[in-house]
Structure formats: structure tokens, C-alpha cells
């Protein structure tokens, strides 16, 4: 599938370029870079701006802002003498809720927040006020979890991509972050600002050199080293590159440009633009796991629920054995779809038609079931999310179609199977309308007693090639 990220930006979190750019030439250059980024974002056709902010720490998993119109006046805790920041933002609350659900489907702890007066963090406020001053594009903001590791942060990005792909939205991804974050611990004149140390400056320039070469995944893999070298050991570590790289499919061949790099009270502030166009250098290798589902110790509070979550992630522990897809002259198979539970291919070409085997929501590679399994290994019923399952079915269908050279637009006929029509039809029907129904295929929906794996929905598809 085509990655829905149209552009990515790294922007600094300090309020100086917003409030007092005129006090220092470097702050003004950062402001000019923000303005250039603003103009590009406005013209790039994005439906959404997604911000991962390091100045919004969270503890209970990740938090996603879901107030449609958060309005307040922010004063920085350190730089309160620079002035106040009034804000009124336009948030895509529907997307925020969907992202939250997608997080749960991939094993993450997360929640949305929508409260009057919620204190939106300084990094997000600066970014949105400067990059999207007239709220022309709706935004989503996600926190930086203080306990999250690389796997969790990577999966956070993938669940965001899930929602972008299921909604067909295109987005700009922004990380609000410092490079080196060591500020002067004393008050300085604006004119005296500089990077805190030569060492911090040299590291910043090396990181920016990587980004200018488009080597985002290399920077992500250096995150722990960068944190040790040029970051004050605050609770929120150098995690944003994990998220941003995963949002860009962990690539190393982006087209990068550093619009500005300056000191902000000693910290390193940079505005960097990463374009998804390949720079032609080829994708350099990377060696960390490409995590699809989070399996961390998120259930420390309630040990009983650990078993449930593990059950939903491992259908082959209590379902039928998985098979390699059947090969054949006209067979179409792909590693991007879940393995069959018998000897058959993912799809078969007949003339200019494509017949898909029944497609469920299991995830390729992990067999995790977005929305959760419908029963545990002992056959006891479990709560599950039919909408997340249906969405995952559609995504698997899209992957098989793409492998065959077809697409969602070319789907002719669909037969859907639900194990609980009364409970699930409405949710299934809602996702259908947002996805396949949009393209107008014929459809038949049947209630059946069971499916081979603990899922609630499966679809049988015929498409043109």
C-alpha cells in the first residue's frame, strides 16, 4: 500500500520563535523556517497534521487529544516572561478515537482526552500555531509515554497508519522535539544564545547530516546513543525518531532538508523537512525488529487480563494449524496477508477475474486479531470489537488485491460471513460503508455458526484485474 504520509517535519519545542523571534537572529531564522514549512504544508494536500510531542509526557500508555476545539492560554513554565500563548485548535476527534481503537487492536495501552481546559503542551502549541495558523488542516496530537520503549513507539505509528489507510486520509507527520536538549541553567541575554557545548553542537550536526541524507531509520536506530550523548536525562527520552521512522516505513532513502538549526537557550532547535520521495540512494539496511504488535508488560495492574490478551494474539495456539499458501499456475499469494488455515491460495486468477479465498482479520506474521478474539482457548466468550475486525479484513483484502495487480475499485462482488448477526451487523455495516461500500460492489451477508479461527467476520471477494 502507498504510505499516506505526504511530508514529515522535525520542529523545536521552545516558545522563542513564536513569541520573540525578533530578539535573536537565530530565533528569527527558526521562525522563517517554520513559515516555509507552513507554506509547504498548506500546499501539499494533507487532510491531517499529526503531532508527536515530547513535551506532553504520559504514564498510562499514550494519550491522544480528542477535544474538537481545545481553547486556552498557555504560559511556559520556564519562559513565562516571554508572554502568553492563546490557542484555539481544530482537532480531528474522529480520527483520534479511531487511532485509539487501532492502538488497542495492536496491543497498546492508550486513551483519548477531551476535557475543557486540558493543558496542551508547549511543543504542540508552538508547532500548530506556526505550522497551521488558520487551522486550515485538522490536527491530532499524541503524547510521549515515559515508559514506552522502541517497540511500543513503533507500534503506535503503525496503528496510526492503519487508520490513515482505512480512512484514505493523507497526512503530515510532525515531531515536536529538541535535538540536544541541554539548556543553560542560568538566565542569559537573548543575544548571547548559543548551543550549550561544542560536543552537543557536533552531535546535532551529525544527526542533521543523516536527516539531510534522508537516513531517518538510521537516526531512529541511533536514538539510544543520541540520548546518552546529548540529552539531559529527563523522563521523556529521544523517542520521536522511532515514531517518525515507523510513520515513514522505516526508510533510509527519504529526501531531507534542514531548513534551520539554531540554539534555543542552549538547546539545539532544528526545523527539518523529510519528503517521502526517494533520494535515489537506495534503502540502507537496518537491523532492529520490525514490530507489528506490542507484547510488553502492559497489564501489570491486572494479571488476569494478561491471559486474555495473549489468547487474542495467538490464534494458532487454540485454532487450526497454519499452512503455507498453495502454489499453482494462477495462484496469487503474498506475505502481506495472513497464512491460510488449509491448503489453498490467497487468490486465483481466472481470465480477467480474481477469486479470493475467504479473508479474515488476522494480521500477517503475528496472527493477532485486531479488536480481539471472540473466544479464549477454552471456548469461553470474550469481548471484541467488530469494527476493528472488519477494518482489518478490508485491509487484508486490499493487500491481496494489490499483490494481484488489482485494487479496491475493481471489486465486483462480496460475500460476508458473520458469526453473530444481531450483535455485529451494525458495526460491520458501518465500516463497510467507509471502505468497500464506497466502491459499489454487490454484497451478500450471511450468519454462520462459526469460523475456523476465533474471529467474527470473514469476506469472500471477486474482483476484476
Amino acid at each position: 500500500m502507498t504510505n499516506p504520509i505526504l511530508a514529515s517535519y522535525v520542529v523545536p519545542v521552545h516558545p522563542h520563535p513564536l513569541l520573540v523571534p525578533e530578539q535573536n537572529e537565530g530565533w528569527q531564522r527558526l521562525r522563517d523556517a517554520f513559515d516555509e514549512a507552513r507554506d509547504h504544508i498548506k500546499e501539499c494536500g494533507a487532510d491531517l497534521i499529526i503531532i508527536y510531542s515530547t513535551t506532553w509526557p504520559s504514564i498510562i500508555g499514550h494519550q491522544i487529544q480528542a477535544d474538537p476545539n481545545p481553547t486556552w492560554t498557555l504560559v511556559d513554565q520556564d519562559f513565562h516572561d516571554l508572554g502568553s500563548m492563546d490557542y484555539s485548535f481544530r482537532i480531528d476527534a474522529e480520527f483520534a478515537e479511531a487511532w485509539n481503537q487501532a492502538n488497542h487492536a495492536r496491543g497498546l495501552q492508550s486513551r483519548t482526552v477531551a476535557y475543557n481546559g486540558f493543558p496542551i503542551d508547549v511543543g504542540s502549541v508552538v508547532a500548530l500555531k506556526l505550522l497551521n495558523p488558520d487551522n486550515a488542516i485538522p490536527a491530532v496530537i499524541v503524547s510521549s509515554n515515559v515508559y514506552a520503549n522502541r517497540a511500543e513507539t513503533t507500534v503506535l505509528a503503525k496503528s496510526c497508519l492503519d487508520v490513515l489507510q482505512s480512512t484514505g486520509k493523507k497526512a503530515v507527520a510532525v515531531t515536536a522535539m529538541s535535538m540536544s536538549n541541554r539548556m543553560f541553567t542560568e538566565f542569559i541575554e537573548a543575544s548571547d544564545d548559543k548551543i550549550h557545548s561544542l560536543k552537543d553542537d557536533e552531535w546535532n550536526r551529525k544527526v542533521l547530516e543523516f536527516l539531510e541524507e534522508g537516513r531517518l531509520e538510521d537516526v531512529a536506530q541511533l536514538s539510544r546513543t543520541i540520548h546518552q550523548q546529548i540529552r539531559v536525562q529527563k523522563v521523556v527520552t529521544f523517542k520521536p525518531m522511532w515514531w517518525l521512522s515507523a510513520m515513514n516505513d522505516n526508510r533510509n532513502d527519504l529526501t531531507g532538508r534542514v531548513l534551520a538549526y539554531e540554539a534555543l537557550h542552549g538547546a539545539g532547535g532544528a526545523v527539518v523537512h523529510l519528503d517521502p520521495t526517494s533520494n535515489g540512494m537506495g534503502d540502507k539496511e537496518y537491523d532492529e525488529d520490525d514490530v507489528e504488535v506490542y507484547h510488553g508488560e502492559r497489564n501489570v495492574l491486572d494479571a488476569e487480563s494478561v491471559d486474555e490478551s495473549q489468547a487474542s494474539d495467538s490464534v494458532n495456539e487454540h485454532g487450526p494449524a497454519l499452512w503455507e499458501p498453495a502454489e499453482g499456475k494462477d495462484a496469487v499469494n503474498t506475505d502481506s496477508a495472513p497464512k491460510p488455515v488449509g491448503l489453498y491460495p490467497h487468490a486465483r486468477r481466472v481470465g480477467d477475474l480474481l477469486y479470493l479465498s475467504g479473508v479474515g482479520p488476522r494480521q500477517p506474521g503475528t496472527n493477532a486479531i485486531p479488536g480481539g478474539a471472540i473466544r479464549d482457548g477454552d471456548g469461553n466468550p470474550l469481548e471484541y470489537d467488530i469494527k476493528a475486525q472488519t477494518r482489518a479484513v478490508v485491509e487484508n483484502i486490499a493487500r491481496i488485491l494489490e499483490e494481484a495487480g488489482s485494487s479496491m475499485e475493481k471489486v465486483v462482488d462480496v460475500t460476508s460471513f458473520l458469526v453473530d448477526m444481531d450483535r455485529d451487523f451494525a458495526g460491520y455495516n458501518e465500516v463497510w460503508a467507509e471502505t468497500l461500500g464506497h466502491y459499489g460492489p454487490t454484497r451478500t451477508t450471511l450468519a454462520i455458526r462459526a469460523l475456523p479461527t476465533p474471529i467474527a467476520v470473514e469476506m469472500k471477494v471477486i474482483a476484476k484485474i
Partner: protein, 303 residues
């Protein structure tokens, strides 16, 4: 009423008064929007005992150092006479959306600020009227004096531990504590000093559907419990110096909220007391260790 006739300024009590917003949430005060079915009673009863104790000690002002006003460039002081507004906890907004209305003893704040500056510390008065008071200050302020009918001095938490080390943090906080004490003595006022921090500070990363479900509440690990008990025992037996001595190990191994400097500052304002403190309560909140402790200075110091 103890201390009523004293002419010279004094610190009449020093308290460890942690700020988890869960405690306010559990009390269902009219200022807080969310409602609960209670919870964390051991700690709330501890705060009841502290309030009862402080009600018997005449005092003019509460001086709070809060780890949730985090400043990286120096130590800051609220510098306007009145603040009001809505405080929403950015981490637990489901529990804490509190309408606050509080007064500041700007004169005493400025006096501490000036003495700290003279001592070489980087300091600043916060005079922006739009500033939102941090929820740590509000929670501690509420739990100690829910009527907010006494003025506060609010001191930010300088993050020198993160920039340098626990040792540097302690040097700075010991100095800040010393000048805080000097300013209070010179002011002629009677003050209660409050460090608004917990002890061990490893959180659970999930929250039960009913946050006040006490069947889910316990310390995150045995090691955290041992550290908390060790520090509390030093407090109860008048061995504050040992807390200072072991602060680097405690802060690192218990991921303790003493990293914000509040506990060191508190003990310094009390000249590192060798008399026993009163433990009013101990309990865990989302896995972190919290103790409500009072050093009854009036009974042990010449005031």
C-alpha cells in the same frame, strides 16, 4: 494554640505532603469536577491527622515546593498576589479538573527569592497573570488546607538532578532550604513548609476501569517497598542526615520523586532534624509510595 505569642518568625512545622491528584478525586470536593466512590483512605485519613495537627499550630503561611512546576532555568517563585483558574492534570485528566482560587504571600516569596539570588542561585519571580498553577501545588494545598484561607509561597522544582546529578541537586536544595529558613525567620511570620513529593515513584502503566478500585492498588515491587520503609524509618527515628546521605541511591534505585529536590529542601529548612517525625500515613497510589509525615518543629526548636 501553640505558637500564638511568638514574635520572631519561625518554621512551626515541616511536612512531606505528596500530591497525587487521586487523593483530591477520592474526596469529591466541590472544586473538582470528576466524582469517585472514594479510595486511598489510608492516605486520606493520614491527611486528616495532619490537618488536625496543623490546626493546633498557629501559622500564617504555607511554603510549598512542588515537583510539578518543573523549571530547568533556575528556581522560580509565584510572584503575584492571587491566582485562580482551572487546573487539569495532563496525565490523569479523568481524575483531576479542579477550580482553584489561592493567594500568594508575595512579600515572603520575594524575600526568599532575593536571599537565594544573594547566595548565587539562579532565581526568577513568575509574574505572568495567565500562568496556570501546577496541580502538585494545588493538590498538596488542598489536602493540607482545603479552604485555601492561608497564603502560599510556591517554589518551582529546579531539575538540576537531571542536568547534573543528585549530589548537585542536593547542594542547590540545601542552599535553597537555608535561605528559605533565613527569610522566614526574618519575616516575623510563622510558616509551615511542605515538600510535595512521593517517595518511590514507579507507576503502574495501566489504570483499572474504576480508578479507585483498591483491590488493584499495591506497591509496584518489593524493592520499592523496602526503600520506602527504610526512608520512613529514618524519619520516624530522627535520622534525617541519613536520608541526605543516602539520597543518591534512594533517588536512583527507587526512581524517587525526591529527584525534584523537595525532600532535601524540606530537611534543609528544618536544619536536618535529629528529632523524630510523626508518620501520619503511608499508602500507594497507582503503585507509587506516598508518606504523609510531619516534623513538629514547635516542640523541638527554640522559636
Amino acid at each position: 494554640m501553640i505558637g500564638r505569642t511568638m514574635a520572631k518568625g519561625s518554621i512551626v512545622a515541616g511536612c512531606l505532603a505528596p500530591h497525587p491528584p487521586h487523593l483530591v478525586y477520592a474526596e469529591n470536593p466541590p472544586q473538582n469536577e470528576p466524582t469517585s466512590e472514594g479510595g486511598w483512605e489510608q492516605l486520606r485519613w493520614g491527611y486528616e491527622r495532619l490537618r488536625e495537627s496543623l490546626s493546633k499550630i498557629d501559622h500564617d503561611v504555607l511554603v510549598i515546593l512542588s515537583p510539578h512546576w518543573q523549571t530547568y532555568v533556575g528556581t522560580h517563585f509565584l510572584g503575584l498576589p492571587h491566582f485562580e483558574g482551572l487546573s487539569v492534570d495532563p496525565i490523569f485528566p479523568n481524575l483531576f479538573r479542579y477550580s482553584y482560587d489561592l493567594n500568594i504571600d508575595v512579600e515572603l516569596s520575594k524575600a526568599i527569592h532575593d536571599k537565594a539570588a544573594d547566595a548565587g542561585l539562579a532565581v526568577k519571580m513568575m509574574e505572568n497573570p495567565d500562568f496556570r498553577v501546577d496541580y502538585g501545588t494545588i493538590t498538596t494545598g488542598h489536602m493540607v488546607n482545603p479552604a485555601f484561607d492561608k497564603p502560599l509561597v510556591v517554589i518551582s522544582s529546579n531539575r538540576s538532578r537531571h542536568y547534573y546529578s543528585v549530589e548537585v541537586m542536593q547542594e542547590m536544595m540545601m542552599e535553597l532550604g537555608r535561605v528559605t529558613r533565613d527569610a522566614i525567620l526574618e519575616s516575623g511570620k510563622k510558616a509551615v513548609v511542605l515538600a510535595s513529593n512521593s517517595l518511590s515513584h514507579r507507576h503502574f502503566t495501566t489504570e483499572s476501569d474504576v480508578p479507585e478500585d483498591m483491590s488493584k492498588e499495591h506497591i509496584t515491587s518489593h524493592a520499592m517497598h523496602l526503600w520506602d520503609m527504610r526512608i520512613i524509618e529514618y524519619m520516624r527515628t530522627g535520622q534525617a542526615q541519613r536520608i541526605i546521605d543516602e539520597m543518591p541511591e534512594f533517588t536512583e534505585q527507587a526512581i524517587a520523586e525526591s529527584d525534584g529536590g523537595g525532600l532535601t529542601w524540606l530537611l534543609s529548612t528544618l536544619t536536618v532534624p535529629s528529632y523524630p517525625a510523626i508518620l501520619h500515613g503511608y499508602g500507594t497510589i497507582i503503585g507509587t509510595g506516598n508518606a504523609i509525615v510531619e516534623w513538629p518543629c514547635y516542640a523541638h526548636e527554640e522559636v
